[in-house]
């Protein structure tokens, strides 16, 4: 609880400072504000507690179990399911996909009807979810092989740069942003525990060097796939 107070203090100070000193407006709706802050505090405390009790242990125990089982096929299937399943329902992604459909409809690149917009947004969502699933598969495969992460990331960057040159201008900003929005608060701890658990249960892998990197891949592939989606559909 005390830790959560410390986590939130900066945000509260910034908002108070700007509201009272720069904009010089009184705070609206004090009661709601204080209840809200109390909820945020409690929520953060409970979340961290649950993280250590539930999400971290299950992610790690599954990683160990898969490593002992020795079936790479099932592990990779699990990796894909986890990446795809956690992303496809992600609210931030749904919002970004709808926004993107609006952009291309206003740019007259697809028909401005609501059906074509919905189907565009849907396609985009599936594309991003697929790309995250692929990223986790690739990342897990990399952990199994012990390949350096740099090559994947730098290779991905080069691909992003090349595709930027060919993708329609309207999609670029959205594509870049979609990398950041895919990784939700529940996915991150799970995927991190999975990677670190795998790396620590395979001989010769270092959890620091090999265990991290899944999130990085999951934020890189959507950029590439969204630009590809923009190029193909237009």
């Amino acid at each position: 609880m005390l830790g959560s107070v410390r986590d939130l203090a900066p945000i509260i100070l910034v908002i108070l400072f700007f509201q009272l000193v720069v904009i010089q407006q009184p705070l609206p709706n004090i009661v709601q504000l204080i209840t809200g802050l109390l909820f945020v505090l409690l929520g953060l405390t409970f979340f961290i507690h649950g993280l250590e009790q539930g999400l971290f242990p299950i992610g790690e125990s599954m990683a160990h179990a898969f490593a002992r089982k020795g079936s790479a096929g099932w592990l990779l299937t699990f990796a894909f399911a986890l990446g795809f399943g956690t992303t496809v329902a992600e609210p931030a992604l749904i919002a970004v996909a709808a926004e993107a459909a609006k952009v291309v409809a206003e740019g007259n690149m697809i028909e401005p009807s609501s059906e074509s917009r919905a189907s565009y947004a849907n396609g985009l969502r599936l594309t991003v979810a697929f790309s995250v699933g692929l990223a986790i598969v690739l990342g897990v495969f990399r952990i199994l092989k012990g390949w350096p992460l740099q090559w994947f990331i730098i290779g991905g960057y080069i691909l992003v740069v090349i595709m930027t040159a060919f993708a329609p201008k309207e999609i670029i900003g959205i594509a870049y942003d979609s990398g950041g929005v895919t990784t939700s608060t529940i996915t991150v701890p799970l995927v991190t525990a999975l990677g670190v658990g795998l790396a620590s249960s395979i001989k010769g892998r270092n959890p620091m060097i090999d265990g991290f990197g899944l999130i990085a891949l999951a934020s890189l592939t959507p950029m590439i796939f969204v630009m590809a989606y923009g190029m193909i559909t237009l």
Partner: protein, 269 residues
């Protein structure tokens, strides 16, 4: 807001969080029972942990919605309001030269972007999770707070630079490409152990707390700065917020390495 409205909203948020968590739980338990076919150690504790996560996340989200988001959005609007910007530079209004934007007029916006980027990142639950893990895995040599502050500085710089880009109207991809080049160069010189964690910290920074506030700031700016198209210029702040922490975390690692080497030298002398 009345009491009953609050309770309804609480129920709705709990329900929608449940809907987000459900597919993940189905995948996890499905594979556990169908493929691994072994009972989960401490099953009861894990399930209770999940319930804590569910309740915690719901309370967190609803609290943000009641307390911080309305204020943050309102402030993003007020700070980017042409009247507020012009207030700082009234002579310009009189001479009628409003069409040409002077990026210096937006000083408060950059400061706000910096501070809000920093403070929301400190409160970001997924970053806390990764920092706990990194601390555990590194045997304590990576401090939880050290990592969080390094990432937060990265986000802060990224978002303020992103705001400057919207005001200046430069195309986003030049910034991103230069950023990539810097990241590649830093990768060559950073301590090897930190590189994967640094790459990861780019992705974790932008979730629950940062995205809504930052998106509001970007769209607000793109709508009010003359000559900007919100649809093209409003995006991209999140990309900046995911790129810069990679740099700041590697820089942090270089700095701590340098510091501990110097410390050793002093001890040896």
């Amino acid at each position: 807001m009345t009491m009953s409205e609050m309770i309804i909203q609480l129920g709705q948020t709990l329900f929608s969080t449940l809907r987000d968590v459900l597919p993940i739980a189905v995948i996890l338990f499905g594979f556990q029972f169908a493929v691994i076919r072994k009972p989960i150690p401490n099953m009861a504790r894990v399930i209770i942990g999940f319930i804590w996560v569910l309740i915690g996340l719901s309370l967190f989200l609803i609290g943000l919605e009641w307390a911080l988001f309305p204020l943050g959005r309102l402030m993003a609007e007020q700070l980017t309001d042409p009247a507020f910007i012009a207030g700082a530079d009234q002579i310009k209004m009189v001479t009628g030269a409003v069409q040409s934007v002077d990026w210096l007029d937006y000083g408060w916006v950059y400061l706000f972007a910096f501070l809000i980027g920093f403070s929301t990142t400190i409160a970001e639950p997924s970053l806390i999770a990764v920092a706990i893990k990194a601390n555990e895995v590194s045997g304590g040599s990576i401090g939880i707070w050290g990592l969080r502050i390094a990432v937060a500085i990265g986000v802060a710089v990224g978002i303020s630079l992103g705001c400057y880009r919207i005001v200046a109207g430069d195309p986003i991809h030049w910034y991103i490409m230069v950023g990539y080049v810097v990241v590649v160069i830093q990768t060559l010189y950073a301590p090897k152990l930190i590189v994967p964690l640094a790459y990861d910290s780019g992705g974790v920074t932008t979730s629950t707390v940062t995205v809504p506030l930052v998106a509001a700031l970007g769209l607000g700016l793109a709508e009010t700065v003359p000559g900007r198209n919100p649809l093209i210029d409003g995006f991209g702040l999140i990309a900046f917020a995911s790129l810069f922490p990679i740099m700041s975390v590697m820089a942090y690692a270089n700095l701590t390495q340098w510091y501990s080497r110097r410390q050793k030298k002093i001890d040896a002398d």
